[in-house]
């Protein structure tokens, strides 16, 4: 088992008010799984993603990543775990604007302390995998949105992490480009990567083998993606029919 969340809660204090972003979440993800995390905005899916990615620490509960309890780790140890175990893909790409595509992909390897030559080789092969060999000397502002997201995915892949965490990766892309990126994730899933996709689009969740629905910080559904997506549209038969039609 790669990820084991037990009774995870995360509480914020905003202006004296308590916000319970996650409430006793239990979730396990096996190696090689592809899980969509869906929910309305404010449902806690971003918080869950941050906790999974060790960017945020839960207020209570246990988080075992690769069998290791992440809860009591120091800031430096968490940084090292993000570096080795997690590959982030963000909605807004989050590339360094002044660095070339290649340098962006190399960045996590720099922090791992790899020699320049090995960094370069691994970054190149990651860019190969996302089909950007030609554009690696370009800076982000010389690339299209889809290409930028590919660079970001290559950056996540270069680190060879245990878990790829994608937060609305198609949210800033037009539908055709978004579809290309989604296909890339499908391919990564087929080659054995463990993927976690945060999305608010039922259509995308339905195409994932498994989906988890959050609402008000609680897990309210966990099952095959298609089932979870359709269940949520029970009250709106017209939308459900449209989705069903689209999926076939």
């Amino acid at each position: 088992m790669l990820i084991d969340l037990r009774d995870i809660s995360r509480t914020y204090h905003v202006g004296g008010e308590e916000v319970r972003a996650l409430q006793s979440v239990n979730l396990t993800i096996d190696r090689g799984e592809w899980v969509a995390i869906v929910g309305q905005s404010g449902s806690g899916k971003s918080t869950l993603m941050n906790v999974l990615g060790c960017l945020d620490t839960p207020t209570s509960g246990r988080y075992l990543l690769n069998g290791r309890d992440v809860a009591g780790l120091s800031d430096d140890e968490l940084a090292d775990i993000r570096n080795r175990e997690i590959g982030f893909v963000f909605q807004t790409f989050q590339l360094l604007p002044r660095e070339t595509a290649l340098a962006n992909v190399e960045l996590p390897l720099v922090y791992r302390g790899l020699k320049a030559k090995e960094r370069r080789e691994r970054a190149r092969s990651a860019l190969d995998k996302v089909g950007l060999t030609e554009r690696m000397a370009h800076r982000p502002n010389e690339l299209s949105g889809g290409q930028r997201q590919r660079v970001a995915i290559a950056r996540a892949l270069a680190a060879e992490p245990s878990l790829l965490l994608a937060d609305e990766p198609t949210g800033n892309l037009d539908s055709a480009t978004g579809e290309e990126i989604f296909k890339l994730f499908e391919a990564l899933h087929r080659t054995g990567h463990t993927l976690c996709l945060v999305t608010h689009e039922p259509k995308l969740a339905a195409r994932c083998p498994r989906a988890v629905r959050l609402s008000d910080g609680l897990v309210i559904a966990d099952g095959p993606g298609r089932q979870v997506a359709l269940e949520n549209l029970r009250d709106d038969p017209r939308l459900a029919a449209a989705l069903r039609h689209e999926l076939t």
Binding site: G53, D76, D80, N83, Q94, R98, V110, Y111, R112, G113
Partner: protein, 408 residues
Amino acid sequence: MNARVDFVEGARIALLSLRTNRLRTVLTTTGIGIGVATLLAILGITQGLDSSFANQLASIGSSSLYVSKMPWVQMGNWWEYRNRKELTLSDLEVVRTHSTYATAVAPIVDSNEDVSFLGQSVSAVDVTGTTPDYLAVSGFEVTSGRFLTDADDDARHPVAVLGMDVVDGLFPMSSPLGATVRIGNHPFTVIGTLSRKGKVLDSSQDLTVLIPFKSFVGYYGKRRGLSIGVAVESPEVLTAAEDQLVGIMRRARATPPDKKDDFAVNRPEQLAETYKQLTGALFGVAVGIGLITLLVGGIGIMNIMLVSVTERTREIGIRRALGARKRTIITQFVLEAVAVSALGGLLGTAVGLSGAKLVSEITPLAATVKPLTIVFGVSFSGLVGLLFGLWPAVRAANLDPVEALRWE
């Protein structure tokens, strides 16, 4: 991730950032540069003054003491000095007899006179009446002719040995030897000339004429009172010789133990001390101004680094998400600050050195800069960068990665 990687990557990012924000880099650098330039120029000029003054003092005679009624450097009640007894020839004899360190003892009386020859005149010449021993006390050498002799003194011969300023003024073309010059209203025959010693502060030691002691007393009286010049073997025994002289003089004058000395033993270093007191305050103020300028430059760096951290909040979030430790972020921003300020230091050093050189070219002030000063300038400005860059860097490292990634 180790410290070396932190450093190499940090330096790369720092340089990239400096290149990207060229105008900002130039302005911040200028701030620090002005501070360093000010400091270096001041240090250079002061060092130059110090070393040229040290040379001047050495020319007075570094192994001589002068016993006189008043100290050269007077502090406290002037009336107390003024009411002291004049030194006498018997004091001179006591010193000559009892000082074991003295290699030469000469009486010194002097007066300012005009010296003229064939209608040419040199005014305000220091005319000194003394004996053959004065040659050893003063450190002068005889470059032509001969020096005063005991016979000249005993017979009160009207003979004179001329300093080079007087020679230059009265005998620009010919040899002065054998010529008769008028000192005040009295004719003297020139028997020799002295080596050139140069200036101490602003007064030339070469604007002088030496005549036999007894001739001086006969013609002019003891106008300024008697001083006793004492030469010792080497500068090392100066302090011991000085202590001994004080003892000899007190005994000779029967000064009670509870009374202060009513005479002074002077040595050239005292001039140096006075000079240091005078310039020290000036130097302190100037260095203070330089430091304040650097401080302002440092605040400029801190300001620009805080702006830089804010601007690059997202970048910091990205780096943290990808596995950069806090230390790595701190290193990155501190190096950037140090790079800017060290660059400023380098620039300031160049400007400061040229400034000091310019001053020594167009004014009589000599400016020399020791290599150590340059090292000091650059490393000090680097230190300023470190100090003022540290806080913004720590702030950057302590940003919450989640918040930082969301920053617009």
